[in-house]
């Protein structure tokens, strides 16, 4: 067997996994960026208030909900 062929399948899979990992990281980073602005309105304290932390987790989930609605609506227009 040609070792370079074995490697290129393995590498393709590795690259696909790393790409997915990078996309997930990017999504988390973007959501944190957006939700920080929405939820942390004052000066940062030594811990989050409970309303700040629930705002952050709600924000992330509602953003994802919204993304699904947007895609569906867009698909309905095609």
């Amino acid at each position: 067997m040609d070792p370079s062929q074995l490697q290129s399948n393995e590498l393709a899979q590795f690259i696909a996994q790393e790409k997915e990992r990078a996309m997930v990281n990017e999504m988390v980073a973007k959501l944190t960026n957006v939700c920080w602005d929405k939820c942390i309105t004052g000066t940062p304290g030594s811990k989050f208030s409970s309303s700040e932390s629930s705002c952050l987790s709600n924000c992330a989930r509602r953003f994802m909900d919204m993304s699904i609605i947007i895609v569906k609506r867009f698909q309905n227009m095609q």
């Binding site: 490697q7 939700c35 709600n58 992330a60 994802m64």
Partner: protein, 89 residues
């Protein structure tokens, strides 16, 4: 042959760049790029929150605001990440 534990020294000294070298380098570079982007975001956010009127030096309250801000931003990243990846409806 287990490709994932390939040892680069199994061949001649002039062995080419191996798959595992490539994977290690890619992972390292991705991690570095991610870390740099993360730091840059924190710089922008914490400058906005803590340095409202730049003076001739950083005041004590500005410095402690920055420390808290960094901690909170890291915590916020964890909260967002957890809320996305723990199934909860």
């Amino acid at each position: 042959m287990d490709a994932f534990s390939s040892s680069p020294s199994s061949g001649s000294p002039s062995q080419q760049f191996s798959a595992s070298d490539f994977k290690d380098q890619l992972k390292t570079q991705l991690a570095q790029a991610y870390a740099e982007e993360f730091l840059e975001t924190i710089r922008v956010k914490c400058f906005d929150k803590c340095i409202t009127k730049p003076g001739s030096s950083l005041s004590g309250s500005e410095s402690s605001c920055i420390s808290r801000c960094v901690d909170r931003y890291i915590e916020a990243t964890g909260i967002v990440s957890k809320s996305l990846f723990s199934a909860q409806h």
